[in-house]
């Protein structure tokens, strides 16, 4: 088990705004838009933090391998990295 890697994932989700951002991205993922992902410009409206901060948080989620981002025109689309979700659910033993 690569402790450093997992603690980095935890760190990426250790801030309320960032966790909520991530959960929102998951939610939109499931809706399966024509985009195939989550339009950042849409969900940003629900958060009362500035655009620079959102950009920063997205980069942290991306660095941790939780999401990938893709630019479509002037928009940014975030996609969940499904592999990591499986890993996440496997860190702790089933008791």
């Amino acid at each position: 088990m690569d402790v450093k890697k997992y603690s980095n994932i935890m760190k990426a989700l250790s801030h309320p705004n960032r966790l909520e951002l991530f959960l929102e991205i998951i939610k939109y993922q499931e809706k399966d838009y024509e985009t195939g992902g989550c339009l950042i410009s849409e969900i940003v409206k629900y958060f009362n933090i500035g655009a620079p901060t959102i950009s920063h948080h997205l980069k942290e989620l991306s660095n941790a391998g939780l999401i990938t981002t893709e630019k479509r025109g002037k928009f940014l689309i975030a996609k969940l990295n499904k592999d990591v979700i499986h890993e996440l659910n496997g860190i702790f033993p089933k008791l």
Copy 2:
């Protein structure tokens, strides 16, 4: 979903030393010692950080509800809070 609560749990596990400490406590839990938990003075030896730091980390794990601690004589015993593990495994959707 209580985002603040979950981000607090993630924060408690967001540092390599603290995550490793937690995983070690889980491991000893499974061994089911006569103590019924994990002797801190034993596992401390594997970490090259000082006792004050260990004490600090244990309190953070405890505050996040991940473990409980119990004093037996001059020793400290840490026990996993199994309920939280179940919650942890339920945060993210199964994809």
